[in-house]
């Protein structure tokens, strides 16, 4: 509550916090305009949830921020001291890791490949192992260090990827449907970890999600994205605007305001 009030007061400036500004962002691939005129402003410590229909450009937005697809407009990260742009460290947890599950790569290998210059096929640096273990401890996944990646469950893999995304501690954490394929216990653990991170570190989080129940409980701000920002604001406000939501095929809200909405035609 406090936070959203804060936002209203100093929209436009960064309020002496670091912040992420996405201004007039557009993505066109071939002849298809996937995103246009997207403006999002995120304060440090905020969790911004992005919802929207399939094909609305949610994943493309993340890809643009990662520099994987070319975009027009601006994406700037401003540090706390002033309006000085810095190159943010971005942590990324992909939606589902479409990898070769037979690959003989352990969790430890993944950390080595990410964090060390020493080739993972030749060495297993002790310092990296220690670092990986500490990172995994944060997400209760220490015991996974020597497991093969392909042998992890969906939830275990997401936690490993979260631990990886947090080392080094990012300025901006991008979570793309991070809970697909997680059971209820894993889900709680995941969101608790994310909530904890926000308190302990100065980082902003962008979360793409279809799980409106979790979004309304954890997000500071919700952005409804369909080619451009249709509406944005605190969860109560966005989810309260039923007519807008219905336009985008988001239904299933109860009159008492409990959010258990689902995207129509969504398969998970």
């Amino acid at each position: 509550m406090d936070k959203s009030l804060n936002h209203a007061k100093c929209s436009g400036s960064c309020c002496n916090l670091c912040c992420t500004r996405i201004e007039n962002l557009g993505v066109t691939i071939g002849n298809v305009t996937i995103l246009e005129n997207v403006n999002i402003h995120i304060h440090c410590g905020d969790l911004t949830a992005i919802i929207g229909p399939n094909g609305g450009g949610k994943s493309t937005l993340l890809k643009a921020l990662l520099g994987e697809v070319p975009y027009t407009g601006e994406f700037r990260f401003l540090d706390a001291r002033g309006d000085r742009s810095i190159e943010p460290v971005i942590g990324y947890v992909p939606q589902h890791l479409d990898f070769d599950t037979g690959i003989p790569a352990s969790v430890s290998d993944l950390f080595t490949a990410c964090l060390s210059k020493r080739p993972a096929w030749l060495m297993r640096p002790g310092s990296i192992r220690k670092r990986a273990k500490e990172g995994l401890k944060k997400v209760n996944a220490e015991y996974l260090l020597d497991r093969r990646l392909g042998a992890l469950s969906g939830g275990e893999l997401q936690r490993v990827l979260l631990a990886l995304a947090l080392d080094p501690v990012p300025n901006l954490l991008l979570l793309d449907e991070p809970v697909s394929g997680m059971d209820q216990g894993g889900l709680e653990l995941f969101y608790n970890t994310v909530a904890e991170l926000r308190h302990n570190y100065d980082l902003s989080i962008i979360l793409v999600s279809h799980d409106f129940d979790q979004v309304s409980r954890h997000a500071d701000r919700v952005v409804l994205l369909n080619r451009t920002v249709v509406t944005s604001g605190p969860p109560q406000q966005v989810f309260g605007d039923e007519s807008t939501l219905r336009c985008f095929g988001i239904t299933g809200f109860f009159a008492d305001g409990r959010m258990n909405g689902r995207m129509e035609g969504e398969n998970g």
Binding site: G67, I103, A105, L110, C114, P119, R124, D146, L149
Partner: protein, 280 residues
């Protein structure tokens, strides 16, 4: 310098087959080539690039044809240049286009072979048919030096870029979020395959070179759970098949390359049936 190797080989291996210099040359070639195949093969298999490395072989064949037309007696330089360009073009198109990788590779591969066949047919095809089967025993001292150089270069490259290749193999977006230039790393990786394949194709042969890249790594995957084991076992299988294949082919008078591939295939099936015992 080669004399030192001859002395060492005769001292360490007091067997009949090593007495011939061509066998000593071939053994040295095997010791230089097979570790490279074992190393590069791991990521070829993990990236599902078996078909790609096969088409690189086809590109090298065309390169040799072009080299023969323009370069006269020593077609190797032309071949290496051509297959490097071939590898870069496929990688860039794969990156920019949404067509399935298999289709793109298929298009390029068959085009390359067709061009190669037409070019070679004008200059007398028989002269170059040795590239199809290859002859390891024909290797000469000067070519061994070339192998040594590529050996050192590929190992150095593999030390420098392997972590990035592995990240891309696991997930491209994840790699990009770590600031990895995925296209550049992909190109370096495919170019190194192209160079190794093109240089060795005249001794191993277009028809079986791909099996030598794929088999050791594919066998190793069955029984390993991390990257060090994966590479170690893959290189070991590759070298074992290479050395034993060379010796067996000497006594049985069979084509060397094919004998090596058969042994590697045997190892693959043995590990395939043993895999449950190692699975984790």
């Amino acid at each position: 310098m080669l004399q030192i190797w001859y002395d060492i080989a005769e001292f360490l291996l007091p067997f009949e087959w090593i007495e011939h210099n061509f066998m000593k040359n071939a053994l040295l070639a095997v010791l230089l080539i097979t570790p490279l195949f074992g190393l590069l093969g791991t990521m070829v298999v993990s990236n599902k690039m078996a078909f790609f490395s096969d088409s690189i072989g086809h590109g090298a064949f065309t390169g040799i044809a072009i080299g023969a037309l323009f370069g006269g007696l020593q077609p190797l330089l032309g071949a290496v240049l051509f297959s490097v360009v071939f590898a870069i073009v496929i990688t860039v198109i794969k990156d920019k286009s949404r067509t399935s990788t298999d289709t793109i590779i298929g298009v390029f591969s068959s085009t390359a072979v067709a061009v190669g066949l037409i070019l070679l047919s004008s200059g007398g095809f028989n002269k170059y048919s040795s590239y199809l089967v290859g002859d390891l025993l024909s290797i000469r001292p000067r070519e061994l030096l070339l192998l040594l150089i590529s050996f050192v270069a590929v190992i150095a490259l593999w030390v420098l870029i392997f972590n990035k290749v592995l990240m891309i193999s696991i997930n491209q977006s994840l790699a990009a979020s770590r600031g990895i230039n995925t296209l550049l790393v992909d190109i370096l990786f495919t170019v190194s395959i192209a160079v190794v394949v093109t240089i060795t194709i005249q001794w191993v042969g277009l028809l079986i070179i791909n099996s030598l890249i794929v088999l050791p790594a594919a066998a190793s995957r069955n029984i390993t759970t991390n990257m060090r084991q994966y590479h170690f076992v893959s290189v070991l299988i590759s070298m074992f098949s290479g050395i034993s294949g060379l010796i067996v082919s000497y006594y049985l008078d069979t084509p060397t390359g094919a004998t090596i591939v058969l042994i590697a295939a045997f190892v693959f099936f043995a590990f395939f049936f043993l895999r449950k015992r190692f699975s984790q």
